[in-house]
């Protein structure tokens, strides 16, 4: 009975919010309003997934939407003085810096909302583009995300605030990475719905880096959606570091659509977060496209980290690789559920998936669900999953050289994690993340940047 009751509360709250935003005319223009109403209708039909839903077998999100969650307006968030509360201090990391505060694009002036270069490259606020250049985004916006039933995207689209927009025309080159700092700074419990859209048609490598941070310890639910479209031959690398506090609910929905000979690489590192769910959906719609994904989560206390991937090979001769690793301490739970799907005609597909977990405490838990669904015969597909403790032989070898038990554990855990961190191609970022991982594994505070609070 209780759960039904909570269920209703969560849905009623969301209904009220939707009506409120509609009344406030938050949903203009019309085509956007149309999309958003349909998304919300879809949510009301399917509601929250139950544990019987294979997709959410190990993670129940409904209770997190049942409490009082404030939806902050844009004006409320633009009053914050960013320089006072935050400065990214990764040394020698030179980026185009974009800051989102509680889901809203932070710009000190109108001009900063949208940047356009001489070769046609555009980046800036998604909401600004929606209003100013709708023709640019209409063929893409919510196209990939709506093909898969996902209540989190329903909600994101229903309540979408703002986010990053990037368009890279053929031959254009982004000289330095775009860095998005996704900040949460609120003194009450809030719900946040950022949405991002990235389109690349350029064979020059684009690097995009997302850092999720919280600046104080108010609980929040952040449910973000990102759509990335890589046209023929486009190349993009995406890095995401999740490092918000342990009372946060961080939900991300990532949709990657790849065309002919495109190359996409992503590295996710989850250091902190109360409940984290990362949905990654890849559609390979072009031949000879290549997708590589790497993920690392370090979880302790009551953290609950759930990575869910789905890679669809719809065209022949493409390649995908997934490497996901978790280290679980205390009472933490780490979940990996990944699928390789090979369509009937996607011959010569080469797909690999690996999930490895280390359990280092009595009460930590691991759930691993690597899956293959194959409908073509001339393919090479495999997966592996291994969960266990640190290798006894390696431990003894290190200790026999005089290295303490604790330090030997540390060395081996760091080595375990380095398979993933080594995949970060931006050196200063890699070094910073390695330092954070090292500190995190030592149980020290792993604050990067001058956060005003600790992450633990």
């Amino acid at each position: 009975m209780k759960s039904t009751f909570m269920h209703d509360i969560a849905i009623d709250n969301l209904k009220a919010l939707f009506n409120q935003l509609e009344n406030e005319k938050q949903y203009q223009p019309d085509w956007l309003f149309h999309l958003r109403s349909r998304a919300f209708e879809n949510f009301l039909i399917h509601k929250f997934p139950t544990k019987k839903d294979e997709t959410y077998k190990y993670t129940s999100l409904e209770p997190h939407f049942s409490g009082k969650l404030t939806y902050l307006s844009q004006t409320k968030c633009s009053n914050i003085n960013i320089d006072e509360v935050f400065k990214c201090d990764v040394p020698s990391l030179d980026t185009h810096l974009i800051i989102l505060v509680n889901g809203w694009y932070y710009a000190s002036s109108q001009q900063e909302l949208l940047h356009e270069t001489s070769d046609g490259l555009i980046y800036g606020s998604l909401r600004e583009v929606t209003n100013k250049k709708p023709e640019l985004i209409k063929p893409y916006f919510a196209q990939s995300s709506r093909t898969i039933n996902n209540f989190l995207d329903d909600l994101n689209l229903s309540f979408m605030q703002d986010g990053l927009f990037v368009y890279i025309p053929p031959q254009a080159r982004l000289e330095k990475p775009i860095q998005v700092i996704n900040l949460v700074v609120a003194d009450e419990a809030v719900q946040i719905y950022p949405r991002h859209l990235i389109i690349s048609e350029s064979s020059h490598l684009t690097q995009i880096l997302f850092c999720d941070h919280s600046l104080n310890i108010s609980p929040f639910v952040m449910n973000g959606t990102m759509e990335i479209y890589l046209k023929d031959n486009a190349k993009l690398s995406f890095y995401r570091m999740q490092n918000a506090h342990n009372h946060s609910i961080q939900l991300t929905n990532n949709y990657i659509t790849q065309s002919h000979q495109s190359e996409f690489k992503s590295v996710y590192v989850t250091l902190h977060g109360g409940v984290v769910r990362n949905n990654i959906f890849v559609q390979i719609n072009g031949e000879e496209a290549k997708n590589s994904m790497y993920g690392l989560w370090l979880a302790d206390k009551n953290q609950h980290i759930d990575y869910f991937t789905h890679v669809n090979h719809n065209k022949p001769a493409s390649e995908s690789n997934q490497f996901f690793k978790g280290i679980l301490d205390d009472e933490a739970t780490g979940i990996f559920s990944g699928k390789i799907f090979v369509a009937k005609d996607a011959q010569k597909t080469n797909a690999y998936q690996s999930n490895k977990n280390l359990i280092i405490s009595q009460n930590a838990k691991v759930r691993s669900k690597p899956q293959l669904e194959i409908y073509a015969d001339d393919v090479k597909c495999s997966h592996g999953s291994a969960t266990g403790k640190l290798d006894d032989d390696a431990m003894f070898y290190l200790r026999s050289r005089g290295i303490s038990h604790k330090e030997s554990c540390q060395l081996l855990m760091f080595a375990f994690a380095s398979d993933i961190t080594n995949q970060i191609d931006i050196d200063p970022l890699k070094e910073e993340i390695e330092t954070l991982v090292d500190k995190r594994l030592r149980g020290e505070l792993s604050r990067c940047n001058r956060c005003s609070i600790s992450c633990t």
């Binding site: 359990i359 009595q362 691991v366 691993s368 194959i374 393919v379 403790k389």
Partner: protein
Amino acid sequence: MNSEDIIQNLTQSDYKYGFTTNIETETFPKGINEDIIRRLSEIKGEPSFMLEWRLKAFEYWKQMEMPTWAHLKIPPIDYQEIIYYAAPKKNKAPESLDDIDPELKKTFDKLGIPLEEQKQLSGVAVDAVMDSVSIKTTFKETLANLGIIFCSMSEAIREHPDLVKKYLGSVVPYTDNFFAALNSAVFSDGSFVYIPKGVRCPMELSTYFRINAKNTGQFERTLIIADEDSYVSYLEGCTAPMRDEHQLHAAVVELIALKNAEIKYSTVQNWYPGDKNGKGGIYNFVTKRGICKEENSKISWTQVETGSAITWKYPSCILKGDNSIGEFYSVAVTNNYQQADTGTKMIHIGKNTRSRIVSKGISAGYSQNSYRGLVKIMKNADNARNFTQCDSMLLSDKCGAHTFPYIEIDNPTAIAEHEATTSRIGEDQIFYCNQRGISTEDAVGLIVNGYAREVLNQLPMEFAVEAQKLLQITLENSVG
């Protein structure tokens, strides 16, 4: 002949056990209700506890819905259109071989399962089950001298009610799932085995299941108890006539291994798979589960699954006793429009428990073949180990091969490893064989058998050869 054609040929060879036996059959009217269950229990001469149990199961089943989570397309089944009891007509129970209808004897002869002990493979005792009843159990006396009970389930319920009462439903309760509930309500026969303390069963025990009658469902129940320090190897085989309609087979098998005991359970499943267009065939929805109840016990499942229109089963092990071992070796072949969603569950409860899973899927034609497995290591299962190897081979570009493992680990000293690959027979492998003078068809046979070797090697010797042939026949002219 190119490899495509060979696949065609291999997969389209005829089902050799598709004949029907003309024999007078006593059947119940179609459908399931309390009266049917009461009548069944009465015919069997069951004690009242059995009837009560059946009725409880039936009540429970009525509240349930058929699960839909498997990667299977199952047309709706009308449970009131099924005949729940069919038995060859007889005036009295057969006292000796002479009392058995010659037609029946001929049937089993034709299936290669002669009921005369002297004609049998030495070292194999057989319980032959036709439709809903056990026809004859061989070597009963030889076994009885060692204290081994090997008889039909009906007989066990009458003659050994204490054992049955204690263990029936103890591993698979009727509440376990939809088909287990149905089976508990209506099972008509099956085999019962009890191996007493310290006895190593000197011969293979075997049950041969045959569906003959039309429109009937087969619901048998098998219960094997291996007492302390005992050992038994058990094998089941099954076939059915070719019929256009689908027939439901929903069996339950329960294994109990006590301290230091070992049970080896092998299945060669060759129910009628339907024709090449997917018409007819058996729905094989079976619950098989064993418990290593006490320390140092071992349960090993080996299955060669080639038949049935749809196979849906997960022979499982509950590793409760410390140091107990569970094994699952499986070859599942699907061809034409067959579907299979099969695998295992290994539940590690005790300390130092070990499990090993080797699954080899082979899909051809338009078939869908899924491995689904759960490895669960509970909080107190210190030093538990699991290794899973799960391979799929695709023999056509129209079939599917899928792998759905679930790995759940709650203990820091446990190690669970899972590996899966998907492949097809390489042109270069076939060419290599061709170049050495081997025909493509033989090459395919060689390669598929090599691929399945690790599993076939687990079968008792008497059946390994048969299983190997069966593999080749199922895929005959279909591999390449």
